[in-house]
Symmetry: C2
Subunit: 249 residues, 2 copies
């Protein structure tokens, strides 16, 4: 009933899966920081992506209020999950409490995060390299999932992470390879149940799943179990694309 | 550029008007509180309405995390303004820093706020009177408006208030009277530029403007200047309805 958590449900794999889909499929989130001047919380909107280990990342300007907040106090919060039609409280959403880490420039982490972020948000290439912009990794400490009326769960931050994420460079290579595979993206989107009629493209990949972007819509596909290597994901995607015949023209 | 406020623009009446439309037209907002156990910010989603003086109100359960936060520390934040198509950062949104006041039951304030809230969110009648639910008025202290790329403004909390709001009971009487005027609602929606083809109805009214609800959509119409009395608003709405002839069947 509304935001009433009543009795918390026992956190099961279905809840963890929904939580990961909400966070990894989000195009943007509401970001709460503490205003260093007043101590008030301050909520703004930020474009988001995830790093290859599942950690949410944001790209923000040093001039913005949220960056000043994070610089003074790394404790922050994210809200993911946008309402669709009908009662906004009937739609799943998740609240994360996170600790923000600056991503230093000229590091492998920065290069990887930049590459993944631009895979999702190509327009951010206009300002990503401005000297006042920087990335933060927002490491989840705990999370509260509301799957809709009466479906409240508490999760550990680790439930949102991808264990043993592997070699970042190899996953970026696969990302670049998938970028060229527009037909396979369309077929995978269909197979995985993404909304029809969108110009789907592969936007990112990690051992836990694949990000598709179709215009304004992001779609996250999670594998049943994390993949052992980028090669296996490539084979899987190629097979999905083989299973569904292309429509004849 | 993105969330970069660069140089703040001088706050003018157009910015104040946009700020009011965002807050008073919101169906829900992201609500940031401070978690009393950890000190972290915590952002969740709440249905919102406004009181007859423009102050945002929420209806929340004592069992929820945000209520526990507000009970321990009244400092909170609201984010209003949902992105539509295209880049989420190109859409106007506003961040408020607010101070939360509990609305005591069995008071005139409670009756008025309850009446206005249910005018907007009729389904909330299912739980509004549960003993663990209560209203908070979230009194704006300061606000930060982002009207889209490079259009950042700072506003005073008072910019979001309706001065000398008048007699609450009289405005509620007008609300009840407008409730029966479905044809006038349709004609006003057309005249005021609300989205076409929605089942618009009057949901609330105050001396600064009128709230229309059409299915999942809220639409706020602001008057050019605050009305001196409910009677004048009634006349204005009746006149709008007279000016546009009803379509012949």
């Amino acid at each position: 009933m509304a935001d009433k958590p009543q009795v918390l449900r026992e956190t099961d794999d279905e809840a963890r899966r929904l939580a990961r889909l909400l966070v990894r499929g989000a195009r943007f989130m509401a970001l709460g920081v503490i205003d260093p001047e007043t101590g008030f919380p301050s909520v703004s909107r930020a474009l988001t992506a995830t790093d290859f280990d599942g950690v949410p990342v944001i790209l923000v300007s040093a001039l913005s209020g949220h960056t000043k907040g994070l610089a003074a106090d790394p404790r922050c919060s994210l809200l993911a999950g946008e309402p669709g039609k009908g009662d906004p409280l009937a739609h799943p959403r998740i609240t994360l409490q996170c600790r923000a880490d600056t991503v230093e420039r000229d590091t492998e982490d920065h290069a990887r995060i930049r590459h993944r972020f631009l895979g999702r948000h190509p327009k951010a290439s206009l300002y990503v390299d401005f000297p006042d912009f920087r990335f933060f990794r927002l490491l989840p400490q705990t999370a509260s999932l509301n799957g809709g009326f009466g479906r409240a769960y508490v999760l550990a931050g680790s439930d949102l992470l991808i264990e043993e994420p592997g070699n970042g460079r190899e996953w970026l290579e696969l990302q670049d390879r998938l970028k060229e595979m527009a037909e396979a993206a369309a077929l995978c989107a269909e197979q995985w149940g993404a909304e029809k009629g969108r110009p789907w493209r592969f936007a990112g990949v990690d051992r836990s799943g694949v990000d598709l972007v179709g215009g304004d819509l992001h779609f996250r596909h999670e594998f049943a179990t994390p993949a052992a290597s980028p090669g296996i994901v490539f084979d899987c995607i190629s097979n999905v694309a083989k299973v569904i015949p292309l429509p004849e023209n």
